[in-house]
C-alpha cells in the first residue's frame, strides 16, 4: 500500500477543504509557525484510521475535532477526512472485500474483461463526524464499519497500536520505562 492523498474539511483548524498529495515514498516536510495547524494534520491522519480516544487527539470529547469557529467564522456541523492509498501489486480485477460494494461488471465472452471501477487498485477511506454525534465510515464511497477499515490495515503496520504516527513530544514513549510495555510493542509488531 502506498499513500496517495489526504483530504480534510471542517477538521480542527482546517475549516475549508484541504488536500495533500503524496508520491507514496520519500520524505515530505510539513512546516510553518507555532500554532498554524501542523499537528492538526497529524491528528487528521490518526483520526481517519479510526482513533477512538478524544484525548489521543488532544481534545476532551470527539466533537472537539470539528472546526469550532473563530471570531469571524461560524463553527461548522461536520468534520470529514479522506485518505486514498494505492496497492501497486493488486491485479486490476481484485477489489477490497467490502460486503456492500458494487459488484464488478464483467463482460463475458470477450477476450478482454472490462474492469469497473476504473481505479480498482486504489482504496479510499473516509470518516465523518457530525455535531449531532452521528458518525460515518466509508470505503470506496460505500458505508462501512470501523471494523472494515481496521481490516484493510491488518498486518500493514497501521493497526490500532501501530507506531506509524509519532505525536509531538511522544518519541520517548517508545522507550517506555516499563519492560512489559516494551514487550507489548514487539508483540504488536509480531
Amino acid at each position: 500500500l502506498k499513500l496517495k492523498r489526504v483530504e480534510l474539511q471542517g477538521f480542527k483548524s482546517f475549516c475549508d477543504r484541504t488536500e495533500l498529495k503524496f508520491n507514496g515514498s520519500g520524505i515530505a516536510a510539513v512546516v510553518g509557525p507555532n500554532g498554524c495547524g501542523k499537528s492538526n494534520l497529524s491528528d487528521a491522519i490518526t483520526w481517519v484510521l479510526g482513533e477512538q480516544s478524544a484525548r489521543s487527539l488532544r481534545g476532551a470529547r470527539m466533537e472537539d475535532v470539528i472546526f469550532a469557529g473563530t471570531r469571524n467564522r461560524k463553527a461548522v456541523g461536520m468534520a470529514a477526512v479522506t485518505m486514498v492509498l494505492m496497492d501497486p501489486g493488486t491485479p486490476p480485477l481484485e477489489q477490497h472485500p467490502v460486503p456492500s460494494a458494487e459488484p464488478v461488471v464483467e463482460v463475458e465472452g470477450e477476450s478482454n474483461v472490462t474492469v469497473l471501477p476504473a481505479k480498482a487498485s486504489e482504496v479510499t477511506i473516509t470518516r465523518r463526524l457530525f455535531r449531532s454525534g452521528e458518525s460515518e465510515y466509508l470505503i470506496d464511497g460505500r458505508q462501512a464499519r470501523l471494523r472494515d477499515i481496521q481490516d484493510i490495515f491488518m498486518g500493514s503496520g497501521l493497526g490500532p497500536e501501530s507506531y506509524a504516527i509519532i505525536e509531538q513530544g511522544r518519541i520517548g514513549q517508545i522507550l517506555s520505562s516499563k519492560p512489559y510495555d516494551r514487550r507489548a510493542v514487539i508483540e504488536e509488531a509480531a
Partner: protein, 158 residues
C-alpha cells in the same frame, strides 16, 4: 504465540543493533530479555552505549541521545513490519545538527518503500525532503496549506 514473539524479537533486535550504529556513528545498542529463562513472559530491557561511553540503561542517556535511540527502535520495527507511511511530529526538536544529519540519512533509506511525513522547524531537516507543505494561518484560527518550492525552504522557517 511464543515463537512468533521470539522471531519478532530476534529480527527487530538485529535491526535495532544496526540502526543504532548508523544513528550513533558507532557505539552499540540492543534489547535484552529481563528474564532469559522465561521468554514467554519476560519484559525487555534496552541498553545502549554511544561511541566511547559506558553501556547503561537507555533511560540514562541525554535528551538528544534518547531521541536517537528511540528512532533507532522505531526504524527497527518498521523494517520488520513496514507501514505505507510514517508521520513524525518534531522528533528533531532535541537534536544537534550532526544528529539531524545522521537521522535524515537513515530516513531517506527507509523512505524508499515508505512515505515519511515530517513536521519540523529545522532547516536541516527540510533540506532532506523531496516535497514540502507549508501551513499558514493568515486568517486567525484558519489553517491553509501551501505547496512550497524547495528553494523557498529558508523563508518557510517562520
Amino acid at each position: 504465540s511464543r515463537t512468533r514473539f521470539q522471531e519478532a524479537f530476534t529480527a527487530i533486535n538485529e535491526n535495532f543493533k544496526q540502526a543504532f550504529q548508523t544513528l550513533f556513528a558507532g557505539g552499540s545498542g540492543e534489547m535484552r530479555l529481563t528474564d532469559e529463562s522465561n521468554a514467554s513472559e519476560s519484559g525487555i530491557d534496552i541498553i545502549a552505549s554511544p561511541p566511547g561511553k559506558k553501556l547503561q540503561n537507555v533511560l540514562l542517556l541525554s535528551g538528544g541521545e534518547k531521541s536517537m535511540a528511540a528512532m533507532a527502535l522505531l526504524m527497527a520495527i518498521f523494517k520488520f513490519q513496514p507501514s505505507p507511511f510514517c508521520v513524525l511530529d518534531e522528533v528533531d526538536a532535541p537534536l544537534d545538527e550532526a544528529n539531524i544529519g545522521r537521522l535524515t540519512k537513515l530516513l531517506k533509506e527507509m523512505a524508499v518503500d515508505t512515505q515519511f511525513i515530517i513536521i519540523t522547524h529545522s532547516k536541516k531537516t527540510m533540506e532532506a525532503a523531496q516535497s514540502m507543505y507549508g501551513v499558514t494561518m493568515q486568517e486567525a484560527g484558519i489553517s491553509k496549506l501551501v505547496s512550497v518550492k524547495m528553494q523557498a525552504a529558508e523563508a518557510a522557517v517562520a
